[in-house]
């Protein structure tokens, strides 16, 4: 256990991105990271199944991406910062991603915010 992180396991609903998660989800994170390239974005938009195939994603990984299942993707080991690229590409905002991870609708989540219009 990293002594800097001791006690972090007591935080509920927290999935710290460490080397173990990074190794487990390296292929998935590489697929998501690749959206920095316009041609990879175009391929995903036109033919997501071909993009999955090219990246060699497992069926489990493909299902989570198809469903934009942010909560499952984070639990699996995706980095929020590679997921953010899928969010933008899919037209899903950060508040909507956060609401999904919390198990709330966007409207429910916005009610808990100070300035719901600041999006």
């Amino acid at each position: 256990m990293n002594p800097q992180l001791e006690g972090i396991e007591s935080l509920p609903g927290t999935y710290l991105f460490d080397l173990e998660r990074s190794a487990k989800a390296l292929r998935l994170n590489r697929f998501l990271h690749d959206f920095i390239h316009p041609e990879k974005r175009a391929l995903f938009k036109e033919n997501p199944e071909a993009a999955f195939e090219q990246a060699g994603l497992t069926e489990e990984e493909r299902t989570m991406v198809r469903n934009l299942d942010w909560r499952a993707l984070i639990r699996y080991g995706a980095s929020f910062f590679t997921l953010e690229k899928l969010g933008r590409l899919s037209g899903v905002s950060n508040p909507a991603m956060v609401a999904h991870m919390r198990g709330e609708t966007l409207e429910e989540f916005l009610k808990t915010r100070n300035v719901p219009g600041a999006r």
Partner: protein
């Protein structure tokens, strides 16, 4: 001799850049944010630093987890704007300062800070989101009024450097800057935070009480902050909020007697957006007269 005339701590939330690009300056939902940066932009316009040394993190854009540097220093004459998945943000490319940056690389390594270096790699919102608030006239002018020396810090993939290590990096950066022979005015910038969490059911977590305490301690007692562990930062300010250790690098590069002369705090949505301005005693006044 190069000298540090002040420091800035600032959030680097991407929506800060978006609000700027969408000209939300007078939108009531965003006005408190813009207003909070105005005194900082005015101070920069007044003191005219030659270089901003920018402690920032890349957001799995330019660096990926196949090789994610703990600390990396940008040493080239320019850095393109990164495509983060939505095309390239319409801001001028960042100008580097190869002379100072190469000297800093040498000084840091000889000072046992074995930093890696990069050249002409794209830089993402970690720098450019706050930069348009600090230098708001640059987009219209087509260029930034000064140079940047970017220093990337891994705050994404644990193990990330300790709070104390970040502070010590700042101290080593001060020694590096002050040993550069050319007469340059330098401002150090620490980015990130404040409280937020972007993963799991705890996403959306904020803690204004802790943020206020952090903003106090960063000026008065940074050593209290270096004594804390990363788990403490995650508990108090959220896992992503722990990136405020980059403010400690900024603070480490400032003198003991530095004064915080302005701060602003705004928490509209998921991330607390803060900016704080620190002025070195005497230095900035002299810079103003010379400018």
């Amino acid at each position: 001799m190069a000298r540090i005339i002040g420091g800035i701590g600032t959030s680097h939330v991407p929506t800060i850049g978006l609000a700027f690009d969408r000209k939300k300056h007078d939108d009531p939902d965003w006005r408190p944010l813009f207003k909070g940066y105005e005194p900082v932009a005015a101070w920069l316009a007044d003191t005219k630093p030659d270089v901003l040394v920018f402690f920032y993190n890349d957001h799995a854009t330019t660096f990926f987890f196949d090789h994610y540097p703990t600390f990396a220093l940008g040493v080239s004459a320019w850095f393109p704007t990164a495509d983060e998945g939505m095309g390239v943000r319409p801001v001028p490319p960042i100008k580097g300062h190869p002379g100072l940056a190469r000297h800093m690389a040498q000084s840091l390594v000889n000072d046992e800070f074995d930093i890696s270096v990069f050249q002409e790699l794209p830089i993402d919102h970690g720098c450019n989101s706050p930069l348009t608030m600090l230098w708001p006239g640059a987009v219209q002018a087509g260029e930034w009024p000064g140079a940047l020396v970017p220093i990337e810090v891994n705050v994404l993939q644990h193990p990330v450097p300790t709070p104390l290590r970040c502070y010590k990096l700042g101290q080593a950066v001060r020694r590096a800057v002050e040993s550069y022979p050319d007469d340059l005015k330098v401002v150090v910038v620490g980015t990130g935070g404040l409280s937020h969490q972007m993963n799991g059911e705890r996403a959306g977590f904020n803690n204004t009480e802790w943020d206020m305490k952090f903003l106090d301690l960063i000026e008065r007692d940074p050593r209290a902050l270096t004594a804390m562990r990363l788990a403490d930062y995650a508990r108090l300010g959220g896992t992503e909020g722990a990136e405020v250790i980059m403010w400690l690098a900024m603070r480490g590069a400032l003198s003991e007697g530095v004064k915080k002369i302005h701060q602003n705090y705004y928490l509209p949505m998921t991330t607390a957006m803060a900016v704080a301005l620190f002025e070195e005693p005497g230095a900035a006044g002299a810079a103003r007269k010379a400018a």
